[in-house]
Amino acid sequence: MVLMLFSTVSDYVHGRLIECYRGSRKATGLLTSSIIINLFMLGFFKYVDFLIRAVNSMAGTALPLLKLPLPIGISFYTFQTMSYTIDVYRGEAKVQKSLLDFGVFVTMFPQLIAGPIVKYKQIEDRLSDRRVDIQAMSYGLKRFVTGLAKKVLLANNVGELWAEISSMNYSEMSVATAWLGVVAFALQIYFDFSGYSDMAIGLGACMGFHFPENFNYPYISTSITEFWRRWHISLGGWFREYVYIPLGGNRKGRARQLMNILIVWLLTGIWHGAGWNFLFWGLWFAAFLILEKLFLGKVLACFSKPVQHLYACIVVLIGWVFFAVETMEGIMAYLNALFGINGAGLYSSQSLYMGRKYAILLAIAVTAATPLWGSLMKRLKAMGTGYAIALYRLGEKVIPAVLMLMSIAYIVEASYNPFLYFRF
């Protein structure tokens, strides 16, 4: 929390100083200083042990790891405060004179821990001029409950399947189990992340803020390019605005564009976590994005949509292996399992048991990852008849209520901890 306070005060001061020295070289210096401070803070707490390990393995030294606790939300608020100073410098946002209002921007609790990453200019006018109206509250609460349900009912439960599979021995895992595992992880991380985003957006709406969307049904994408326009939109937008475009974007020729993509995606990868596997994850997508820009995109367009969708799903699912398994040996072993190279067979009784156990949950989760349910509600409303509208209105209230009750049940049960053996 001290760090957050420090970051807030630091960038508030930077913002005002930049305003004072606008136009002069001092302003540029201040901008650089703000960026350096923010990145240093982030880099130090998040990546210092990663760097130490890397140095140790390359130089053969045995420097001790610092094992610093990772301050909560640091990846998010450093990016947010940086966007403030950059926007002020560029003149795209007015400097915030009130430290309190600026503090609100940084510490806005709904999206502090898990995003969406809000660019200052997106909400700057709302900081001082906010109206709380009942329509926004109604929408916000519904959105919040949706997010809660996604996290508690879907993400946590599908996560149990992944927890079971990820603790198995990969070199003895059948193909079916391995794919079941990545699908489970893919659904877990999506519902976890988009659930938190929904809750943040919902709470923000209740308070009169309009946060940007962060997810747009990424798993219906038909290409990797499309996937990254639908997944963690606020991060992609941040990198595009503050790294890709300043580097030249696609305005400096093809080669430069591909290099820019590579750089941005390496950064995207490492932003997600301090490990080589995350770097690799970013690289994986960079490769496909580049290939799609070069020729793959045109090739894919020759095929039907379902085939394109299959391509995208497979690439993304394999990508999740790099994200979820954190050691290189583990990744190799898991990939072997995915493609049946480990000789464990196509499926096993474990695959059958787990498949049956989670079949219904997975079906619900997969459909919830598509716009299906939302569009059903919208179509109901659009039908226009009195009966349809009444049903819609009823559903609009009953469904969040039911979801809330179910969520409470799951949250309470998670702490249910019968301690049996000591007494038996």
Partner: protein, 387 residues
């Protein structure tokens, strides 16, 4: 309804739910202990500066709120009901078996070879030094295999028992597995608890008698006495679903003699059975007063030999059946026993020997029968002693 009214109504409903539970939470008294979970529930944490700064206060407070949540047990029941709707066949480590059976889940991965080797080595020493007889009872998932859900995994205890037999030798191994397997269609395990029933214990007794070449005492399974018909055991606590209750039965023959049972050198009673447990959730504690480190039983039978049992809770329903064969029975539960086992056991060797001659066991020279009585899973998880 106008759009505005509609919005107000939506807000009202969602906030209403939050408000109801917040108020109910404040109003309700805190529970100290949960019978269903068999543990003390978190109480309100004390506010302290260090607590807040270190983050522990917030953690503890969160634990406190969830533990004391109004209607907690019912919420757990709702969640379990939803799980069943999702067609989940195991909840909280318990399989939802056919015919109303709850069967405890034991995955093969949970029993690594090193642990097994360690336990078997300890067992082998006990067998060598004391000529101990070993009775390891299979758990329900190995015997009631037809009641398990399809493709359910279980730790192969039959194979494990073969390894045990090889390690300690056939002479000291009591084969309970085959006897139980023969009677698998009978009520030999509880439907809501991980223990075997008194009928199962009876078949265990039968296996013991057969293996040790004794004349069995006559017990009549069809004349068993019902002690309670409202037993919901440990597995029911883990899976809060409505289930048919189990009945606990005993053999009235075990109540015939004047006996004395002393627990941990302190409490002495005159029955194997402790009635007070029948009013609590933990009804299995009825057998030998639940768990004690050391129990001394004087059986009242006109015998002159001694039995020393090293056991887990499975033995509690079997030991009364062994009484007719011994004058005194000593029982040790290694979970509560921390001193050196062999010297402790030596204290209880009888002065004269009337046990089978020709036992060349280094300790006691066969004066005292030693029986190791565990279920397979507890044995692999818990069995440990200091020589």
């Amino acid at each position: 309804m106008g759009e505005r009214n509609n919005n107000i109504f939506t807000v009202f409903i969602i906030c209403g739910i939050i408000m109801i539970f917040t108020v109910a939470d404040f109003v309700k008294h805190d529970r100290v202990y949960s019978e269903t979970e068999n543990r003390v529930l978190a109480s309100k944490p004390k506010f302290s500066k260090e607590g807040v700064l270190s983050g522990r206060y917030a953690e503890d407070y969160e634990e406190y709120v969830t533990d004391q949540f109004v209607g907690r047990d019912k919420w757990v029941g709702i969640k379990t009901g939803l799980d069943v709707l999702l067609q989940k066949k195991d909840i909280n480590g318990v399989y939802l078996g056919k015919d109303g059976y709850l069967i405890e889940q034991h995955k093969p991965e949970d029993f690594p070879k090193e642990q097994e080797i360690q336990r078997l080595t300890l067992l082998e020493t006990l067998v060598e030094k004391w000529n101990a007889q070993v009775m390891l009872v299979p758990t329900a998932d190995n015997i009631l295999t037809d009641k398990l859900p399809a493709h359910a995994a279980y730790f192969d205890e039959a194979a494990f028992l073969e390894r045990v037999k090889e390690k300690i030798g056939k002479a000291n191994y009591i084969d309970v597995y085959s006897v139980l397997a023969e009677h698998a269609q009978e009520d030999i395990y509880y439907r809501t608890d991980h223990h075997w029933t008194s009928l199962g214990a009876y078949y265990g007794y039968y296996a013991w008698v057969k293996a040790t070449g004794r004349l069995p005492y006559y017990y009549a399974p069809d004349k068993m006495q019902i002690v309670t018909e409202e037993f919901w055991g440990t597995l029911h606590s883990k899976v809060r679903l409505p289930r048919r209750a189990d009945a606990i039965r005993i053999f009235p023959e075990t109540n015939k003699k004047e006996i004395s049972v002393t627990y941990d050198f302190q409490k002495t009673t005159h029955s194997y059975y402790e009635e007070s447990y029948l009013d609590t959730k933990n009804k299995y504690g009825y057998f030998l007063d639940d768990n004690h480190g050391f129990v001394e039983i004087t059986t009242g039978y006109a015998r002159s030999n001694t039995l020393f049992v090293i056991k887990d809770s499975y033995a509690n329903s079997l030991i009364p059946l062994l009484a007719p064969h011994y004058k005194t029975i000593y029982v040790v539960d290694l979970r509560y026993f921390n001193s050196r086992l062999f010297s402790f056991m030596e204290q209880y060797l009888p002065q004269e020997s009337t046990a089978a001659a020709g036992n060349n066991a280094p300790y006691g020279n066969g004066k005292m029968d030693v029986l190791v009585l565990y279920n397979c899973v507890h044995f692999l998880e818990d069995f440990h002693y200091y020589e």
